[in-house]
């Protein structure tokens, strides 16, 4: 009798929202010096996802790396027809280093899909997204969804230098107008990005703004959004333990009807109203 085995399928979800599931690695390749793309062979039931949602990954324990808690990762792509789940990740510490060691055929235990994703309201015909670095991962499914819904999409992609500009092809494929700005070319400063967005707005090409991650982007879109009365959403990050709403370790502060509230990034988020989000 095998007592140590953990049967992830044992716990069938009561309401079918999220699952602990075993997946198989199809590929785990370097995209460039810093980022890797992980493609998993995933059961159908976990592929009913929304753009902006995330999975909580049980990174493997190896001889070199012993991560303990799960690591949250945005869904970079979900393809029920192919049975695939994609992630785009930056190798930073213990957990992502362990993730980078996964080889084709290895298994990976994932928990999800989790959280509340982006909304695209019916009257938001022109959407603008602002992505930097690995934030592309979070915003890529939004671009897919925008195309599916026949919305016009502008993607501003920001990076340190042109070499690490990823996913431009992906956004172009989605029919987006792609604008790239980089640090090395001196085009990624907030002033310049803000003026690009202002011009778009002036031309009536923006009904909603989307971004993720950074404090700088948040501030920028909050200011421009408030100035022109344009709504927006941001996906936020916070350290997580459980990922499903039980432990309350992932809270952030929000401004809501004149009061400061605390919300769980894993449960009420990770996507929040851009004006309610508070810088950190």
């Amino acid at each position: 009798m095998e007592l140590k085995q953990r049967n992830a399928e044992a716990g069938t979800s009561a309401n079918g929202r999220a699952f602990e599931a075993e997946t198989r690695v199809k590929s785990n390749r370097e995209v460039n010096g810093e980022y890797r793309q992980l493609i998993l062979d995933a059961p159908q039931k976990i592929l009913d996802c929304q753009p902006g949602q995330f999975f909580h990954l049980l990174c493997p324990v190896t001889s070199k790396h012993q991560p303990y808690l799960r690591r949250p990762m945005s869904i970079y792509g979900y393809f029920p027809e192919k049975g695939e789940l994609h992630f785009l990740y930056k190798v930073t510490g213990e957990g992502t280093q362990a993730l980078a060691e996964l080889n084709e055929g290895d298994t990976l235990n994932v928990l999800g899909p989790l959280g509340v994703g982006y909304t695209i309201r019916d009257d938001w015909n022109n959407i603008l997204l602002l992505a930097r670095g690995v934030g592309l991962a979070t915003l890529a499914p939004l671009a897919h969804e925008a195309r599916r819904l026949g919305r016009k999409l502008t993607a501003i992609c920001s990076a340190r230098n042109p070499d690490v500009l990823m996913s431009i092809d992906l956004f172009t494929e989605m029919g987006a107008e792609v604008i790239t700005v980089t640090d090395t070319e001196g085009t990624s400063d907030l002033e310049n990005v803000a003026s690009i967005i202002r011009t778009k707005i002036a031309n009536g090409e923006v009904d909603a703004l989307y971004t993720c991650g950074s404090n700088r982007m948040l501030k920028l879109l909050q200011d421009v959004g408030a100035e022109y009365g344009i709504p927006g959403e941001i996906a936020l990050e916070q350290q997580m333990a459980c990922g499903v709403g039980m432990c309350q370790c992932c809270v952030r502060s929000f401004r809501r009807s004149g009061k400061i509230t605390h919300e769980r990034v894993c449960r009420e988020g990770p996507v929040f109203d851009i004006q309610e989000a508070m810088g950190w």
């Binding site: 009798m1 992830a8 044992a10 979800s13 929202r17 602990e20 303990y68 916070q238 039980m246 432990c247």
Partner: protein, 314 residues
């Protein structure tokens, strides 16, 4: 079919597996079927609304974790209106964990929470007693006795006292809780710990210190559960570092009547479901027909009580 039912006082549980306070909520219903659990245990609630501690609130330490979540609470009214009704839909006993920073507030919430739908009150006395020196009630037999006596007088519901490992007087505290009318002991809460980032030289938790939970806590909590089971007649519920069926069986042999599973649920949210089926398989493989046959069967006949109750470096 093996019999997994266990009894804690007058309360019968369909199996001995339940969640630990603070590591479980309604949200887990998104991942597992909550109706299979032995009991439901809620996050500690306080009377007043509270914000909890600064972030980061958790960090990992080689196969275990520290937390300094604190007790963020939406208050007792929100709890009674929203949380209790959710659990009423299940035919599973509801254990509500409460806390307060002084005895009067403790008594007030204990009384106010004794409402239909609540089967047991778990008294989290591992929190600081502001009226004295800020040390947790459960660090000393005297403060344990005082608070439990007061609570016993204001509620007819069973009271489970949740003990802390941050004490040198485990058995005395256990006996004090029993003397004051506790119906069971939950052993134990987290162990006060610390971790520092060597590059930034900053403590890894926003609150500087926090509680250790997960596998590294197990030998400590198991020792305490064993000592408590020896020292009192009321049931002991083991808690600390349980993630495999072997861990569960070990606690039962040490004298626990049931167990609580905490951090393991963060790693594998299906853990409790797996443990229930693996416990059944374990008992079958050992030809044990009733889980209760395991409880307190540790073979320690030769050891003197002085050894069992020793709390000094060996």
């Amino acid at each position: 079919m093996v019999n997994l039912t266990t009894k804690i006082g007058a309360l019968t549980l369909r199996n001995p597996i339940m969640p630990a306070s603070g590591t479980f909520s309604e949200d887990l219903a998104d991942v597992i079927d909550l109706s299979v659990l032995g009991a439901h245990v809620t996050k500690t609630v306080t009377r007043e609304k509270r914000g909890g501690n600064p972030t980061p609130r958790v960090c990992e330490v080689r196969g275990s974790m520290l937390n300094s979540i604190g007790i963020p609470s939406k208050g007792i009214d929100h709890f009674i209106q929203n949380v209790i009704p959710f659990y009423k839909a299940y035919d599973v006993p509801l254990i509500v964990s409460i806390s307060a920073h002084n005895i009067d507030d403790f008594a007030r919430i204990c009384e106010e929470i004794s409402v239909p739908g609540v089967d047991v009150i778990e008294v989290n006395i591992s929190c600081p007693n502001i009226e004295e020196d800020g040390k947790a009630f459960a660090m000393r037999p005297s403060s344990t006795h005082k608070v439990m006596t007061k609570l016993r007088a204001v509620s007819d519901l069973p009271l489970w006292a949740k003990l802390t490992p941050n004490t040198g007087e485990t058995t005395e505290v256990a006996q004090a809780a029993q003397d004051a009318g506790a119906d069971a002991l939950v052993v134990s809460n987290t162990l006060l710990s610390m971790a520092i980032d060597i590059h930034s030289r900053k403590p890894k938790l926003g609150n500087l210190m926090g509680g250790l939970s997960g596998p590294s806590l197990k030998p400590i909590a198991l020792r305490m559960a064993y000592q408590c089971a020896k020292a009192v007649d009321i049931p002991v519920i083991g808690c600390g570092g349980i993630s495999t069926v072997e861990d569960v069986v070990e606690y039962l042999i040490a004298g626990a009547t049931a167990v609580q599973v905490g951090t393991a649920t963060f790693i594998n949210p299906t853990t409790m479901v797996t443990l229930i089926s693996n416990l059944e398989r374990f008992l079958e493989s050992q030809n044990i027909s009733n889980v209760r046959e395991l409880i307190g069967t540790v073979r320690d006949n030769d050891a003197a009580d002085s050894v069992v109750f020793m709390e000094a470096a060996p």
